[in-house]
Amino acid sequence: MNSMHYLYAAYIATWLIHGSYLTILVRKYARVRREMERLRK
């Protein structure tokens, strides 16, 4: 059963990495959008 832990760990790690990258991108994008709105005024 122990080997299943490693399997889950690897899959979860993969999704954590992709998820956090996507989160970083979305937050940066939101900040840029806010800056754009400010400049347009």
Binding site: S3, A10, Y11, A13, I17, L22, K28, V32, M36
Partner: protein, 228 residues
């Protein structure tokens, strides 16, 4: 544009869930390694995707130096960054696999994992350079460094290959054919991860274009204020 993006996002989500099902349930269990072998369906496609992205980085860097097209520069930046993300996945899942199978977290003689690690280091230094570089010539300098990095890869590979023949270490899968059912699952997962890479690159591209536009506008604004 928006529509295409939504479609791609939907297709990626579908493909990824299907690939996950295939990898965890549909694929046959490997006889000697057991279920741990299923890490392979995430580890290997991620590595291939990272290599494709680094190849794109290399080609677009050359194209930039010839044509001086800013689009090629953006593509080089984006592919390197997303490539590093996929490379990180490879480097993290590699030891998780190695631990139960070989009994060690890291085998310095394993050629593929070590080459990937060096590749990861090279492209991280490329990204740091892009961030630290000042003035308008960042793209040229970055493209030059990208070419250096790409040319380093075969040398890294050969040096580790010889290092390995000197220091015997557990290495998996040298030769030996893959079960066709497993190969099938592997390819589905690769397709899914390529789609994900495409999606991430798209988002990153949009972000880069928007950032550059904002930077330009900010420069204009401060110019206008100073001339007032």
């Amino acid at each position: 544009m928006r529509r295409g993006f939504t479609l791609l996002a939907l297709a990626t989500a579908l493909l990824l869930s299907f690939a996950l099902y295939e990898a965890l349930i549909a694929a046959p269990t490997e006889q000697t390694m057991g279920d741990v072998q299923r890490i392979f369906y995430y580890h290997v496609p991620s590595a291939w995707t990272a290599f494709v992205l680094f190849l794109i980085n290399f080609v677009s860097s050359i194209v930039y130096l010839i044509r001086r097209n800013p689009k090629a520069d953006i593509l080089a930046l984006v592919s390197a960054e997303v490539g590093v993300v996929f490379c990180t996945v490879v480097i993290v899942t590699g030891p998780i696999w190695a631990r139960p199978v070989w009994g060690i977290w890291w085998a310095p003689g394993d050629i593929r994992l070590t080459t990937t690690l060096v590749l990861w280091l090279i492209y991280i230094s490329y990204l740091i350079l892009r961030r630290m570089s000042t003035g308008g010539r960042t793209p040229v300098i970055a493209a030059v460094v990208a070419i250096f990095g790409a040319l380093d890869v075969p040398l890294v590979y050969f040096s580790i290959w010889f290092f390995r023949t000197q220091h015997p270490s557990p290495v998996i899968g040298g030769g030996g054919s893959l079960d066709p059912r497993m190969a099938h699952v592997l390819l589905i997962n690769w397709a899914a991860f390529l789609c994900l890479a495409w999606l991430l690159s798209w988002v990153r591209c949009e972000l880069e274009v928007a950032t550059r536009r904002v930077d330009e506008a900010q420069a204009l604004e401060s110019l206008r204020e100073s001339s007032r």
